[in-house]
């Protein structure tokens, strides 16, 4: 039966010249659906990857109680020091707890496309480098504590032409030199600049920190840490697992992006189904006499249906390939800034093969929906009528 | 010449280069106003070409065509269209009605080209429907009408703008004998009411309804034979 279907399909495709217009339209329509879908999902996924990569299960981030995010958290200097003595925290070879006290400031800088972007500057101490082994220098050197020096994350470098090693920027009226750039395993911190916490605090007349991030003895030790914080209410602080914290921050945006991508893609797919139906009905109508002849000769009705459906699927796949290619052409490598934590995370969109396959899946579904009824009609054509049209 | 039809030395050629065919070569013909002319001849004789020239569907390569007191061979495309709308009604072998429109709407089409208002149009449509005897079928679509009825709708459409000249191309070619007779009687009636009719036909019996018959072969008029 399969052989029959192939034969019929061959004949049908041979005559596609007559239906070239409609077929092309269907292909373009499906390409549009796949292109948009793949692009939007890539946006969501890129964001997710960046944030999921941030944070580890064996680290916890401590914020002031009730703070929705790090930027809004405020821990006084004394509290931040005391937090290091809480339960569950891993100690280093020197017997001291592995903690990193960090504060944040924001500044605005022009992006490559001219719009103003929001840049987070993280003030860190030596503990941060010990806590975060994933941070490594790419260019230049680390800043010297006590000097007005900063290092810039890789993702910021590509987005902000003014933030490059060797350049300097004005913070609170005085110049700060950018002495190096760093990578951080592709996570959210690459969208930040870093500098000496003491120096930044002094420049911005701040005391206290936004967060204290600690190394846990083990992921299970989180419970210990939490209990320790609960028991000392004067600290007014609470802890979360670092990776879960970042994942939760991005949840809304990822949901929104994915949701919108699916919604828009779904609506477009509906339109593509209508276009596909149109094309396939017209194909069956224009090839009615041919199909009738084949059936009269003795070709299996079912084989005819399969052939018609296959044509629809082929159009779908062609559309999917075109759409994925266009998406890759336009969006692969496109840099995007997405809001998180009242800061912006910059990442690059990647059209992965897996996404392309998702697109093909959708295209096949559209092909099936658009080809099913016409395929049934082809099998059920009243022979006498169709032959008379000859 | 005042309200009749006249062709003088008309030449009509189709194709180019080696494929050139001279369908009409210096043909001259005069049709009096109020005449009912049957134009007969074998296929390829040029009778349809002649009909097209008379109806203003085509222009001759050389020569003059006069109809309804106008020299139409020099008119521009737009002027020719306007002239056709006012002076010519066409009737075809296969009726050529719009399948999606009712009889009444089909008949209305020529009136859309006039400044007449809706009520006036309706009145005229009713009048011609009455003339062709199809008042009861006004709301039917062509698929719901017999061949003869469709042709009568076509005739009504050709009449509704009150043209002087009716041009018919094998009007009974697709009808059975009895229906054909009915249609031809109707044409005769219209002729008696003053319409000039030029009819191409291959049916000698149809020609009997005409006042004059002219034969053609290979683009040339053969000596006239006048029907009694």
């Amino acid at each position: 039966m399969l052989k029959q279907s192939f034969a019929i399909l061959e004949v049908l495709l041979g005559a596609i010249g007559q239906r070239l217009g409609s077929s092309l339209v269907t292909i373009v329509g499906i390409a549009g659906v796949v292109g948009v879908l793949v692009s939007m999902l890539a946006m969501a996924q890129g964001f997710q990857h960046t944030l999921v990569a941030t944070g580890r299960a064996d680290r916890a981030i401590i914020l002031s109680k009730g703070a929705p995010n790090e930027s809004s958290s405020n821990l006084s200097h004394d509290v931040a020091i005391t937090l290091g003595d809480s339960g569950g925290i891993e100690k280093g070879s020197d017997g001291k707890p592995i903690v990193s006290r960090e504060m944040l400031v924001q500044l605005r800088a022009p992006r490559r496309d001219g719009t103003l972007g929001v840049v987070t500057v993280r003030g860190i101490e030596s503990g941060a480098i010990r806590l975060r082994p994933e941070i490594r220098l790419v260019q230049g050197r680390l800043f010297h504590p006590g000097l007005h020096e900063l290092i810039v994350g890789r993702a910021l470098q590509t987005q902000f032409p003014s933030l490059q090693p060797g350049a300097s920027i004005i913070l609170q009226g005085s110049p700060w030199a950018i002495v190096g750039s760093f990578a951080s395993a592709g996570d959210a911190h690459e969208s930040e600049m870093m500098g000496d916490a003491a120096g930044l605090s002094s420049a911005y007349h701040r005391t206290g920190f936004q967060s204290v991030t600690v190394a846990l003895k083990s992921p299970a030790a989180l419970a210990q840490l939490k209990a320790s914080l609960e028991s000392n209410t004067s600290l007014a602080a609470e802890a979360q697992r670092e990776d879960l914290y970042y994942a939760a921050r991005s949840l809304v945006i990822i949901r929104v992006l994915t949701g919108i991508g699916l919604l828009v893609g779904g609506i477009m797919a509906l339109g593509a189904v209508f276009a596909s139906l149109n094309t396939m009905y017209a194909a069956v109508a224009s090839q009615a006499s041919l199909i009738a002849t084949l059936r009269a000769i003795g070709f299996n009705s079912f084989a005819v249906s399969v052939a018609v459906l296959s044509e629809a699927l082929l159009l779908g796949v062609a559309g999917a390939v075109l759409g994925a290619l266009l998406a890759a052409l336009f969006f692969n490598g496109h840099a995007l800034g997405m809001a998180s934590n009242q800061a912006q995370i910059f990442y690059v969109i990647q059209i992965t093969p897996r996404l392309a396959l998702t697109g093909v899946g959708w295209a096949l579904a559209i092909g099936i929906l658009g080809g099913l009824f016409p395929a049934i009609r082809a099998a059920r054509l009243p022979l006498a009528e169709a032959l008379r049209a000859l | 010449m005042s309200s009749g039809i006249e062709l003088r030395n008309v030449v009509k050629t189709y194709g180019r280069g080696r494929a050139r065919v001279e369908v009409l070569n210096g043909l001259t013909l005069a049709i009096a106003a109020g005449d009912f002319l049957a134009l007969m001849g074998p296929s390829g004789s040029g009778k349809t070409t002649l009909l097209n020239l008379i109806g203003g569907l085509n222009r001759p390569d050389k020569g003059e065509v006069w109809a309804a007191a106008t020299r139409i061979n020099q008119l521009s495309g737009g002027e020719l269209a306007d002239w056709r709308a006012r002076h010519i009604g066409f009737i075809f072998q296969f009726y050529n009605l719009m399948p999606m429109l009712t009889a009444a709407r089909n008949i209305e089409l020529p009136l859309l080209l006039t400044p007449l208002g809706r009520d006036e149009r309706r009145k005229r449509i009713a009048t011609v429907l009455d003339i062709v005897g199809l008042s009861a079928r006004a709301a039917h679509k062509p698929s719901q009408l017999s061949g003869g009825e469709q042709q009568r709708v076509a005739i009504a459409r050709a009449l509704v703008a009150d043209p002087e000249i009716l041009v018919c191309d094998e009007p009974t070619g697709d009808l059975d004998r009895r229906t054909a007779d009915e249609i031809l009687s109707l044409l005769q009636l219209l002729n008696k009411r003053g319409k000039t009719i030029v009819m191409v036909t291959h049916d000698a019996r149809a020609a009997e309804y005409a006042t004059h018959t002219v034969h053609m072969d290979k683009g040339v008029l053969l000596p006239e034979r006048i029907a009694a």
């Binding site: 929705p68 911005y204 339109g271 149109n278 | 269209a81």
Partner: protein
């Protein structure tokens, strides 16, 4: 319009094809309405920014001392100052989101004209700290009436007593005219400040009304200069800049929307154009007949264009109509994240698209109809 029946009948020669093309076009216009509706709603948030209003905030969104207020108010060019602390909360279930604004009732309503309430409601807020004024659609949703006592759970505003549950009394309703679906609850700042766990005596940001919008830059710089050496340095900017910064955080929405809409309409053009061309080819004989009757070339071409206009116009009306119905639902579903409605400008743009798609897709078949030679057409078809 006497030609209408003729144009209409031309569309329905092949019912299935016309319906499917129409549906595809409806989808396109629906998508257009939804996307542009959201996009323009968001842009409006920036556009309607008040030119005479500045926002003063900490450079890292930490609180500012309330003591700053009299200092700011004294500045030349400043007419009045107020403050707002905002936080997201919920009512009974986390899904029932509300936006709490802790405000100073005496100054807030006077300075923020887009939030409209009755004199009684305002007085009630001043009279009893527990009284709140809520957005009308929000009250309707939960069936709150004046006098209702409710509890709002606001994790962003932890209280001294260790909870984040704020009992309040509904005193009246307000209308947030520029973003009607925002689930706003206006809370008395004194109540908030007295019961809050930390940062007492501080505010998130100040709203500053200035006398002359042209002086925005000067006044902003002056305010920031006041506090540059204080523990909490400030960054003052116009409401427009503030809104733009917030919007820019949501990513390149504009670009995305334009790209999608462009792709969709390009495809639609091809679809409608193809459909019209097919339809024309099937009806060559009919167009020829019209010409024999005396229809001019231009008129016949016009009929083809008319078909395109009718088809696209119908699709536009249905598609945009559906978008109009769906958008407010989307706005509500996003919890007032963006107020979504179909603005007049989007409708106008939609009409423009109808015209462009109609004319461009009808171009080829209309031209062919114009050039159609009667005799050839009648013979061949």
């Amino acid at each position: 319009m006497k030609y209408l029946f003729l144009v209409w009948s031309g569309l329905w020669r092949r019912r299935t094809r016309t319906i499917l093309t129409l549906l595809s076009a409806v989808v396109a216009f629906f998508l257009f309405g939804m996307l542009e509706g959201v996009d323009s709603s968001i842009k409006q948030l920036v556009g309607i920014a008040h030119l005479d209003r500045l926002y003063t905030a900490n450079t890292a969104l930490l609180p500012l001392p309330m003591a700053y207020l009299p200092e700011i108010e004294k500045m030349p060019g400043v007419t009045s100052v107020t403050y707002v602390n905002a936080g997201l909360g919920s009512y009974q279930r986390p899904a029932n989101q509300v936006a709490i604004f802790a405000v100073d009732p005496a100054r807030y309503f006077a300075m923020i004209p887009e939030v409209v309430t009755t004199g009684d409601a305002k007085a009630a807020m001043l009279q009893d700290r527990l009284n709140v004024v809520v957005a009308r659609p929000l009250a309707k949703k939960f069936g709150w009436t004046p006098g209702s006592r409710i509890v709002l759970h606001v994790p962003a505003m932890p209280r001294k007593d260790g909870t984040a549950d704020w009992p309040v009394v509904i005193a009246g309703f307000c209308d947030y005219t520029t973003a009607p679906d925002t689930p706003v609850v206006l809370l008395n700042f004194d109540y908030f400040d007295a019961a809050r766990l930390k940062d007492r005596g501080t505010v998130q940001r100040f709203a500053v009304k200035i006398r002359d919008p042209a002086q925005a830059g000067t006044v902003s710089a002056a305010i920031d200069a006041l506090f540059v050496n204080s523990p909490a340095a400030t960054q003052t900017e116009t409401e427009k800049a503030f809104a733009q910064a917030s919007i820019s955080q949501i990513g390149d929405i504009d670009f995305l929307v334009d790209a999608i809409v462009g792709a969709v309409f390009f495809t639609l053009l091809l679809l409608v154009g193809n459909s019209l061309m097919q339809s024309f080819r099937e009806r060559i004989r009919e167009f020829a007949i019209l010409k024999t009757i005396g229809f001019r070339d231009g008129t016949v071409a016009g009929l083809v264009i008319g078909e395109a206009l009718l088809l696209c116009g119908l699709a536009g009306v249905i598609g945009l109509g559906l978008a109009r119905l769906a958008l407010p639902g989307l706005g509500r579903a996003s919890g007032g994240l963006f107020p979504a409605y179909l603005s007049a400008s989007v409708v106008a743009a939609g009409v423009g698209c109808v015209l462009v798609v109609s004319f461009v897709s009808a171009l080829a078949p209309a031209w062919k109809a114009h050039r159609l030679a009667i005799v050839d057409a009648l013979v061949a078809h």
